[in-house]
Symmetry: C2
Subunit: 301 residues, 2 copies
């Protein structure tokens, strides 16, 4: 009977909640209530870690920790189980339902085929602008509601990534103007935003260079100079902590030459206030518009 226990660093890894947060919750709310190992250090049982993951998820729906942690387990569980899913605005929803179902059935080959089929039917531009955007949102929301697991989101991302990369690789090189550097900041690991932008902008003939995810700010600055980028585009997912976005953009803005534009997009910038010297792109359409504007104000000579 030796149940598995996790130290505080492991819990931080598994839940994404910082060590300070875990300790202060324990002090204030009495949860989590870890045991102590032979050295007096916190040792969290697995069920408490699982409850923390649930709480983290519910907080993404707008709940505040003080409320949640005061509730008894049964009430938490009832919040976790989604209300009878009103078949909400099923606009072109048949594919969403198919895709979410395939994910939940773990039928990876069928998922890949469904996505590939949609891409070929719609063409890359429409596929990205409509289908991928909507699917990402649907899957994110399904996770928030507890309908799919993190690993299932990973499976989806992996299939979509393969498809988009293949499509991007098949595109002809354009004029290469403007030169756009795409990446995410160190805590942001979601790559689909980058790949969607890369696909659309490359389709329009821009010169995209991707650094992948999680590039230190200092290196974004170095890369922008080395690549002679005209635009640095960052993607923030809805999971990214909103409070960190503004300071990050300000920091990056300060590292770049004034003639380099900074664009920020993704679901994570919806509640972010406007920044001087930074374009907040509320949608992929806005990015395409931004591209047109850049070209209008930088005529080729």
């Amino acid at each position: 009977m030796n149940k598995t226990l996790m130290n505080i660093a492991a819990v931080e890894r598994e839940t994404g909640l910082g060590k300070d947060t875990l300790r202060v919750w324990e002090r204030r709310y009495g949860f989590p209530r870890p045991e102590r190992d032979q050295h007096g250090e916190r040792a969290y049982p697995l069920d408490q870690v699982e409850k923390l993951r649930l709480i983290k998820r519910l907080m993404g729906q707008g709940w505040r920790p003080g409320r949640l942690l005061a509730k008894p387990d049964e009430e938490l569980a009832s919040l976790a189980a989604p209300a009878e899913a009103a078949p909400d605005e099923v606009a072109g929803g048949s594919l969403h339902l198919t895709v979410v179902d395939l994910i939940r059935q773990h039928d990876i080959p069928a998922l890949g085929n469904a996505l590939r089929q949609a891409l070929h039917r719609q063409g890359l531009q429409q596929f990205v602008l409509e289908t991928v955007s909507a699917l990402n949102r649907a899957i994110g929301e399904a996770w928030m509601r507890g309908e799919i697991q993190v690993f299932e989101e990973h499976l989806y991302t992996e299939q979509m990534q393969a498809l988009l990369r293949q499509a991007i690789g098949a595109l002809p090189p354009g004029s290469g103007r403007p030169r756009i550097l795409l990446t995410t900041v160190p805590e942001e690991q979601h790559i689909l935003g980058i790949l969607m932008s890369e696909a659309l902008l490359t389709l329009e003939g821009a010169g995209c260079v991707s650094l992948g995810t999680q590039t230190p700010l200092a290196d974004i600055g170095l890369a922008a100079r080395a690549q002679q980028a005209d635009i640095v585009a960052l993607s923030f997912s809805s999971a990214f902590p909103t409070r960190q976005v503004a300071p990050l953009l300000k920091q990056l803005r300060g590292m770049l030459a004034a003639n380099i534009e900074v664009w920020a997009g993704g679901a994570g910038i919806e509640r972010v206030a406007a920044q001087e010297g930074v374009r907040i792109m509320g949608s992929l359409d806005a990015a395409l518009e931004g591209l047109a504007q850049w070209r209008a104000s930088h005529p080729a000579h």
Copy 2:
């Protein structure tokens, strides 16, 4: 004259050094020595952050912080500049040199072409086993020596990733036995190890499913069950903190059914002691051998 200052969380993001570590270094060695903002909180000037990144890099070469932090700046700088590069064992080194040069010249299209050419000349198996392995090592070492920047490593990874994914996508499905789940743990963001393994194992007809990088342990367990995986394979890069590997593997082992094998590979497991119930794969060849052994001990019925 308002120089940019970073708070301790930003320094952690940029350098990868934990907050506790930054504070204890300051206490013990007197460096870093941040200013304080109007609230009395640490505010790091950019040059100290840069020095911290240098120190982190030198530590990867075997230096210890106590030694490094005692040195004056000039001596640190002399360590940073590499000794006259003895043209070390240039076994098939011409491609390495070409590739590293192309990276340093930021000629992305040429880099992509050189890699694609090598792949087609050698075939996927030899390319992965020999060229990609060697290139990864060469680039990692070039970074350690300060010859290339982090963003240049990102550029390389992005090109290689595109190439490997394309090659994997073109492979025919095999027998699908055994079913292998590939991923990395949450702090490990290097994906090439996964892609290399996926390429080789799929070539041998195994059924590979990738979760991409940074999957929480709990979800690795859930995915293994959902996918009915026979083997869970993890990749650790040389940048991964060695001390964390063993506890992670033990934790994961405890989460999986006993009939599921756990394999760990990559440069990050070289100094890791053997674990009960975990196969430490010292090389990609070892993984192929492991595959053969699995098949020998699990004859199809």
